[in-house]
Amino acid sequence: MKNVVVNKLNFSYDKETEVLKDVSLEIEKGQYVSIVGHNGSGKSTLGKLLIGLLTPKSGDITICGLPLNKDNINEIRSKVAIVFQNPDNQFIGATVEDDIAFSLENQNIDRKKMPELIKKAASDVGMIDFLTKEPSYLSGGQKQRVAIADSLVRNPEILILDEATSMLDPSGKEEITRLILELKKKNKDLTIISITHDIEEAYKSDHIILIQNGEVVLSLPPKELFNSYELIEKYHLDIPFEVKLKKALIDNGYKVDEESSLDELGELLCR
């Protein structure tokens, strides 16, 4: 089943520059998709269009079978959650549990059911021990975890991460990337769309969509992309460490399986 269908989308902020040109794409339910591209490529704009924060000039968007329009927007927003870049701009409550509760209050959830839902969301993101903590006691990575809990507690079908790790330090970044992979394992139906700069993160996703100058230029699984030196060079992409290592091993006469993990490559070298 397709969870997101975008058809010939055009968008511009002013009359002159087209930010998105004829963008069409499809995202399957339960997929973890990375949208990558250089600064100014239009990838964040696409994220905002998907949840109706911006209105396209032309073209249409269908989310979970519903066309995105005035009549459906509220229903669609109950199915889609977005986490933004800046951890400090998304914390509303006085404590972690208040912040997650705020999300539920907006959905008119029965008060009695709230504590249980909050606890579940907090433990899903590994913040159960911080429920009564104020935001000033949390690191950037922890605040982003809470922002993800705010989204998860509403039980969305689609989670959009708009450069959710780009303002975090390296350990915060790793924390969130690991969390995304865990969430995916636990909930196979959750569709994750991650708008990101980080090639190591994108490499771990199921599918990569590359946007350049407002156009979708590539849409394929990461393994296919990074197996093609032609594509890497053509689009000036960074190469993940694992891919570089595999190439070096092959050049040195090792027999490498495309599917091998880093750990298996290590075993190969130690033999």
Partner: protein, 282 residues
């Protein structure tokens, strides 16, 4: 002769309610002819530190001794050698391409030389040499710098510094915002400058660069020196307390060691180095 930083402190807005200690009793040494990385978070004091090196700011206390030739200290006396110091030690700031302004690429590179008193024809000849060194070819010399791509602009800006032939070059995040190809040309340029015997100081967040290109690394945290040593010494300590990410190559080598492979990780700067060590073992 190294750069010696001795008990250096710097206080922004002293004796006001907003007083901030940007550097607190920092002492360190940066050896000649090598590449040294300065690492630290936003607010760690790294920008303040490099600005004391050519006296863009004067320390509140302590001093910096540059190769026993220049001393930057807190005294109110005028430093008569400041012009020579700035020729000897030059800083390439972050996003130097924003500072391009001349009509043509060659004029932009020659501008600094003219400031130091060189006449036009010689200045342009030297500018051409510097442009060649950074890999900008002749067809660009008479074009406007604003027509160039981001990576080309940055190389032109760096040419404007190396044309002055400084002995010490400080670069603040020289690869930030460049695509992989652009980064590689800048890093190769830095290696060739080192081969010429220059001292290079790199401010960077990228631990891959620290492992693959730098001889030494200095870590600052909240205005204090918390580490000084080689990259492999840094990565073998508990770096999470400085929230530094271990580069994937180093982490992979460590996992090989744990599996029983006998490696000298301190000598591994690239995947090729790793491969040749494994070959030798066979």
């Amino acid at each position: 002769m190294p750069i010696k930083v001795n008990n250096l402190s710097y206080i922004y807005l002293p004796k006001t309610p907003n007083e901030t200690k940007a550097l607190n009793n920092v002492s360190l040494e940066i050896p000649n002819g090598q590449i040294t990385a300065i690492v630290g978070h936003t607010g760690s004091g790294k920008s303040t530190l490099i600005q004391t090196f050519n006296q863009l700011i004067k320390p509140s206390s302590g001093f910096v001794n540059i190769d026993d030739k220049f001393v930057v200290e807190s005294s109110k006396k005028k430093n008569k050698k400041i012009k020579d110091l700035r020729k000897y030690l030059s800083i390439v700031f972050q996003f130097p391409e924003y500072q391009l302004f001349e009509e043509t690429v060659e004029k932009d590179v020659a501008y600094g030389l003219k400031n130091f008193g060189l006449k036009e024809p010689e200045a342009i000849i030297k500018a051409h040499e510097a442009l060649k060194q950074v890999g900008i070819n002749e067809s660009f010399y008479l074009r406007s710098p604003f027509e160039l791509s981001g990576g080309e602009k940055r190389r032109v800006a760096i040419a404007g510094i190396i044309v002055l032939d400084p002995q010490i070059i400080v670069l603040d995040e020289p690869t930030a915002g460049l695509d992989p190809e652009g980064s590689k040309t800048i890093l190769d340029l830095i290696l060739s400058l080192k081969k010429e015997g220059k001292t290079i100081i790199l401010v960077t967040h990228d631990m891959n660069i620290v492992q693959s290109y730098c001889d030494n690394v200095v870590v600052l945290n909240k205005g204090e020196l918390v580490f000084q040593g080689t990259p492999s010494e840094l990565f073998s300590t508990d770096v999470s307390r400085f929230s530094i990410e271990i580069p994937p190559l180093y982490a992979f080598c460590q996992s090989l060691k744990q599996k029983g492979l006998n490696l000298d990780i301190s000598k591994i700067q690239s995947i090729e180095d790793l491969m040749s060590q494994i070959k030798e073992k066979r």
